[in-house]
Amino acid sequence: MTSPLLSVRNLVVDFHTGEGVTRAVNNISFDIPAGKTIGIVGESGSGKSVTSLAVMGLLQKPAARIPQGEILFNGQNLLNYNDAQMRAIRGNQISMIFQEPMTSLNPVFKVGDQIAETIRIHNSVSAKEAWDRAVDLMNQVGIPNPAASAHKYPHEMSGGQKQRVMIAMAIACEPKLLICDEPTTALDVTIQKQVLDLLHGLQQKYNMSMMFITHDLGVIGDIADDVVVMYRSNVVEKNNAKEVFYTAKHPYTKGLLACRPKLGANPRRLLTVSDFMDENGVEKHVSPERVVVFDKDSEAEKSSDILLEVKNLVTQFPIKGGIFGRTVDHFKAVNDVSFTLKKGKTLGLVGESGCGKTTLGRSILRLIEPSSGSIIYNGKDITNVYAEELRLLRRKMQIIFQDPYSSLNPRMTVSEILTEPLNIHNVGNGRKERLDMAKELFEKVGLNASQLNRYPHEFSGGQRQRICIARALMLRPEFVICDESVSALDVSVQAQVLNLLLDLQQEFGLTYVFISHDLSVVNFIADEVGVMNAGKIIEMDKATNIYKNPKEEYTRALLSAIPKGLVKSDLSALV
């Protein structure tokens, strides 16, 4: 066996901050053989991105320090390279694709120029040659009409196209190693699939090595040769991809594999990492009843009262124009949507970004005013109620937002956040009682009541989403809209939150509208699923039916885009 292209040996990375030293990467080693793809999997904060930045030499000095270890690239220790030597490597022999295509491209330069720049840094070619090569690269990464597109600025392209540009830039000098740091996380599922296919194809074509970083094992199932699993700064499992998927050894890996909702059969509650190991990393045995596949349809007809009925709902935004900025036209974000929802049930709404699903959710709550149609809640038309009545309605209808970071006011403590709804609606007697109510719910969503006086920024993303859920439930609503409420979370955390939502639904008899771009998540949680495209619900059916018998082409595309990887549908193997 020849020596690997990249070999990370006993790498340690520390971050020195004002408060002390944090170890981000703890003595890890792995190899990337030439022409192979290595997946590095772990949740946020596990040290996977730091590792990749260390390889690139892009760690922020002087905060980040590497007290120990080697990064051998072609046998040379990159850690001994100076700035100029590293620059010659970067973008040339090792290149990288980042998670956020929206912000990773310089907004003020044409994409063609940005690709050509990489070429000209490392090759002495004329501007013209570089440009032509850039156009050629754009063609290779599948950007339609590359000659014209090269003249575009990043904001004129879609997210998927931008990521393709990033890829073109990364492969411009035919690097030996391509590092992909969560390249598809920010993209819609269908796009994600295309990008993955593209990367895989390019890897084959150029015989590159690839280091693919993700929090979602499912994503790399199709393309990784080897998988390295990282957990809390350590490598916990390192093996051939097949081995990892079929005979995962470490409980964390098992948890990761189990927590992703499957399209078909799922247990009543998703398995999470904590089902496989305790807080100290000691393996636990999963109780067999946790893996019994749950048949939703069995209890589907128990409830029959209709809670919400939406009829021909239209929400439109004005398009301004002319000298005086008058409204010249309207954009219909929600276009003639109708559905009914029974008490205690969950309606899933699925669609890609821009399809109008978020607007629909907010229109139902009248956070955005609908333009026409009607919303009938509990038999009462609420489309035109105002002020006090609307305020009272807020007690019954709640929403949980997507981004747990921005949906909590950073200047309020958690107890303030939780008691605020009570104050507004004058629920509960005095501060003390309200605080008790907050405490109760806070524990119910799985948080420690002693942390009530903390500020949101002191919590992790998953914990924050729990706080958001607690806030939404403070008023004991009947109806909750979950707007992409788990999309920003790592898969392992996502499973916990989904379970929590189901538990709460059961306990409080909640009715959900669950909005997501991820069909597998919607499929898991919802009783009925509506597929949205361009402001309309194009298909609506029972959750169990929709993946079995999709009627629309669009639905089929969504379904096929879900990474299936090597995941077995049989959970029992994990027990």
Binding site: R394, N409, M474
Partner: protein
């Protein structure tokens, strides 16, 4: 992890920065001097003749004496009171106007925004000096007019900043969330958004403060400044005639006093921005 508010965090970061800490101390010392002077505990005898006219600095009179034989140090200390009060009252006038108008414009948009934008565009398009002079003309001279004139011209910047920031924040999900739990406009704007733009007010105030102190000098040069008591402005203005006769200590005293506090406010403003601006957090 201890229980920390963002403010406490920011404060901790602030005092960790030695330069900022030093600036903060300077500002506090000046404020103390100003308070003591306004209570008449120090420099209350600035008007007293303590020696001959225009004595150079000596052990007895550290900053020398002025044309009337008054102690320049006492005048500088008394001037501190004026300077700090100019900064303070200017801020007290400008902040409520700037914040309320800016917040209302940014939050409600529509014709309210149009009107307020028009108002501050109009104000900022008239040269400041004209507004300053005309307002002092109307109100008569004196420190009160200085407060109001400076306050009336410095709300514009704050208003513009707050408006922009509120516009950004009102789209944030936490504000939407406040609406979803039934919070009204008042709650959303004043309880949710404003605390999140306070850092702008603080940073701006720190910079406005020093601007006001410097403006007082210019106003004094134009004869529109504080009257009947010594301020740094009048002292520097006096110096324009005295310097030629070699009386440099009045200029030096007032300039140094002003230099220190203006520098401190400037540095503090920078440090505050570094520690309060969420954008720059952790960098």
């Amino acid at each position: 992890m201890k229980e920390n508010s963002l403010w406490k965090d920011a404060f901790k970061r602030l005092i960790k920065d030695k330069m900022a800490l030093a600036s903060l101390i300077v500002v506090i010392v000046y404020s103390l001097i100003a308070i003591l002077a306004s209570m008449g505990l120090i420099a209350s005898d600035w008007a007293k003749e303590v020696g001959a006219s225009n004595l150079p600095p000596s052990a007895e009179h550290w900053f020398g004496t002025d044309i009337f034989g008054r102690d320049v140090l006492a005048k500088v200390l008394h001037g501190t009171q004026i300077a700090m009060s100019v900064g303070l009252f200017t801020a007290l006038i400008a902040i409520p106007i700037g914040v309320i108008l800016g917040a209302v414009a940014g939050y409600f948009g529509g014709w309210v925004d149009d009107f307020i934008t028009w108002l501050y565009t109009t104000f900022s398009s008239i040269p400041n000096i004209m507004l300053l002079i005309s307002i002092t003309m109307i109100l008569g001279k004196g420190i009160f007019a200085v407060y109001i004139a400076l306050g009336a011209t410095s709300w514009v910047t704050l208003c513009r900043l707050i408006r922009g920031e509120v516009m950004k924040h009102k789209e944030r999900e936490y504000v939407q969330a406040a609406g979803a739990i039934g919070g009204g406009h008042f709650r959303k704007l004043f309880l949710h958004i404003l605390p999140n733009v306070t850092h702008i007010v603080i940073i701006n105030t720190s910079l406005q403060f020093q601007f006001a102190i410097k403006s007082e000098v210019i106003l004094s040069y134009l004869g529109l400044g504080v009257q009947g008591e010594p301020s740094w402005g009048t002292m520097i203005d006096d110096a324009k005639l005295e310097l030629a006769r070699g009386v440099w200590w009045q200029l030096a005293g007032a300039t140094m006093a002003m230099f220190l506090v203006v520098l401190a406010f400037n540095l503090l403003g920078d440090a505050l921005r570094d520690s309060l601006d969420p954008k720059l957090k952790g960098k």
